[in-house]
Amino acid sequence: MNANPSSLRVNKRGTGFQTGWLLWLPPLTFLVVFFFYPLARIFSISFGRGDQGIFSLLLQALTSENTRSILGFTLGQATLSMLLTLALGLPGAYLFARYRFRGKTLLRALSGIPFVLPTVVVAAAFNALLGPNGWLNMFLMNQFNLAHPPFNFMHTLGAILLAHVFYNTTIVLRMVGDFWSHLDPHLAAAAETLGATRWQAFRRVSLPLLSPAIMAASLLVFLFDFTSFGVILLLGGPRFATLEVEIYTQTVNLFNLPTAASLSLLQLVCTLAISVLYTRLAKRIARPITLRPVLLTQKGLASSRQKLAAGVLIAALLIVLVTPLAALGARSFTRYGTAPRGEVVQQGWTLENYRQLSEDPQSSIFFVPPTQAIRNSLLYAAATVLLSLLIGAPSAWALARRTSSRLARILDPLLMLPLGASAVTLGLGFIVTLSQPPLDLRTSPVLLPIAHTLVAFPFFVRSLVPALQSIQPNLKQAAAALGAAPRQVMLYIDLPLVGRALLVAVVFAFTISIGEFGASALLARPEFPTVPVAIFRFLSRPGAINFGMAMALSTLLMLVTAGGMLAIERLRLAEVGEF
């Protein structure tokens, strides 16, 4: 071909520039319309209350006795939850990182299930285990012939903390454990040969090297606990309110949008501050470390003391992370009846709870048969997957292509922002913006998939980017040298190589959508509830039938989300991902 070099250069530059912008266009438009614009509206509503600007506004919010106590509780419970999570997670991470034992893969998979469970399922699970109708109380009542459940678990701080530990331990297990498992054990051994005791070797060598991972995991756990919604609402009850719950209450029960908006702003400032702190810390302590293959860093449990310690730890992990799930599953197959004195009693095994799912128990306009809710959830999830593909895939491609460009450096954290903004805030933003012209989507069925896409967005993108980046540039160059146009490189090189990662991302989007509760609680229209919303309604109402159906629906949801998680785990075997 008679190509003239200068025209080639121009051409190359031209297409690179164009595709770059084209890739950014859908995600940016989407985020601007459905994230930044609603957020801006929340801000302006907050500003509308006072005219002295953001700081005096925050000050005003902080001086309010009520807000201060809510903020104090939010921070306090998050700190406590984080510390408890670390107390269980760090020893677990050590066990997973340094030892091989039978059933490890299974235990690891099981420990990941809580993290992906919708909060309503978690609430249902703890209800099934420790609630007034739970296994423990039932057992105690039968055993000691008691008239009332002796063990008061629901609506206590303990319930909130336990649920948070249940939820987030896997973050520590994975983030710290994975890093730890690749940390050269010779480093600690070297310290010991230089005269350090085991403890000194840990404190002076292993701990400083692990601290970025521990810090990252802790802050992520803290962030999740800080914005916790469903757990507080369902397990904490009316006595406890985090910022997130208060935003919801102010919006739904009191319809006090300005107060809700101020609280959202306060929460956003807090999460942003945590994220900035995290980035700073991570940068300061990040140092290049040679990672070792797991084959060289792990060994079997040798002495009987090691075996005993490992056994105790595994038992603790099983009790905290698995028994609530088992209790839920078993409860959904238990018949309930109302005893003469009014309490619910167990009456043997049955499929009745599942059979009732196709009936409308309340026969009112706001209550549809649960099967209807399942259908709604599936449709919303499918729409979320579709939207995520349209919006998330181009962003991931754009991010992976140009990590070094200034544009990407600015946009990367921007794309991650939805992770910091809570689901309830998103829902509130939609309520204040999208229910009036120019965008009147309040009654549109696409509202929920849009919200779900935003919630899933960071996960979707983060599942794809590392896989895309791991494609060796010389592969692309080789393809280009063989005559492949950029589009062909994408089709024949990128796509087959990231196929698994793409599947992971899709499963993420689906699983998140089907279990999402915070935004759905605000946005789902009464006649079109999703499964989590339906479970919430059943759990909030008394009666054996409601409880039974909540158990059955929760079990189904648990199976679907856990299945999704296990699929992700499987697909990821040799993959790299950041979540």
Binding site: D184, H186, L187, A189, A190, A191, E192, T193, L194, G195, A196, T197, R198, Q200, A201, R204, V205, P208, L209, R287, P288, I289, T290, A302
Partner: protein, 349 residues
Amino acid sequence: MTERETVLQIRDLVKRFGETAALDDISFEMQMGEIVAVLGPSGCGKSTLLHLIAGLERPDRGQILWQGEDMADVPTHLRGFGLMFQEFALFPHLDVRGNVGFGLRMQGLRDDQIEAGVSEALRLVDLEGYEARQVDTLSGGERQRVALARSLAPRPRLLMLDEPLGALDRTLRERLLLDLPAILSELDQTVLYVTHDQEETFAIADRVVLLNAGRVVQIGTPFELYHNPHTAFAARFLGLTNLFPALVRDADGAAQVETPFGTYPTETRLRGQVTALLRGDRMQLDGEGPEVLHGRVKDRSFRGQALRLKVQTSQVELACTLDSDLDAPEIGQVVELSFDPLHALQVLA
């Protein structure tokens, strides 16, 4: 070495990983100030041996004694044995000062004492002024020296080096091979040196423990090992060629070894199937020895002081090493190789 005190005694050491024995009945001793090399192919259990001596792993059987004291219940940090890891295991979060001074800090020394110890150790390895460098900015050779300085700084009573030159490129290895003995002898340090490289072993060690598949094959000075290997494995591992299957039997009251190229008298006590080693460095071209083999020169290569010939006889191919100042035969020329069977022909198990 014999007048020195015996410090380390390894007795019947056994370590299993599952079904396989990584170390099987290892016994040897070390004298104060001695440099002993543990030589063997990779996977022969060398690193495991060092980890057992350091106390990082526990033996399944056997004893490790230091000056008569059993180390079984002494934890790693109290043994006073330094170990330099193959990949150096420098602490990435500490600078050179923090790394080299780590052992001194663990001894509870004052800051100025640590500083002095660090400077002294860095002087030994020729890295003066490197205190404030971050370890990830060091070259491979510098990392090796920092690791050595770190192991030396607390003055361990035994220094163990695990393939210390293994991670370096060839040029660097050869330079450090010259420096290392000087550093170690300046300190009169007792050293256990693990390597798979016979060249390194010969350059550094006073004595060699040759390992194969977890068992001791032979112990001796490099000279003894090279000139009198006991097994075919030892000969092959030390780079000797001309090894042939052979049979020893008694004939007329004297032992004879039957090789593919002839039957010769021998003084060995072995009988039956053996390996015969015809040493290429103990043959001449003059055709005047007690025994002579005829052959055609197949290949020759000039190696500075030595000339190596490959000679094809009617039965076997032989490699021999000759002085290079001789008139070298041409390729294809027929030569007469003469040798004394009692001197050049060794019988190995």
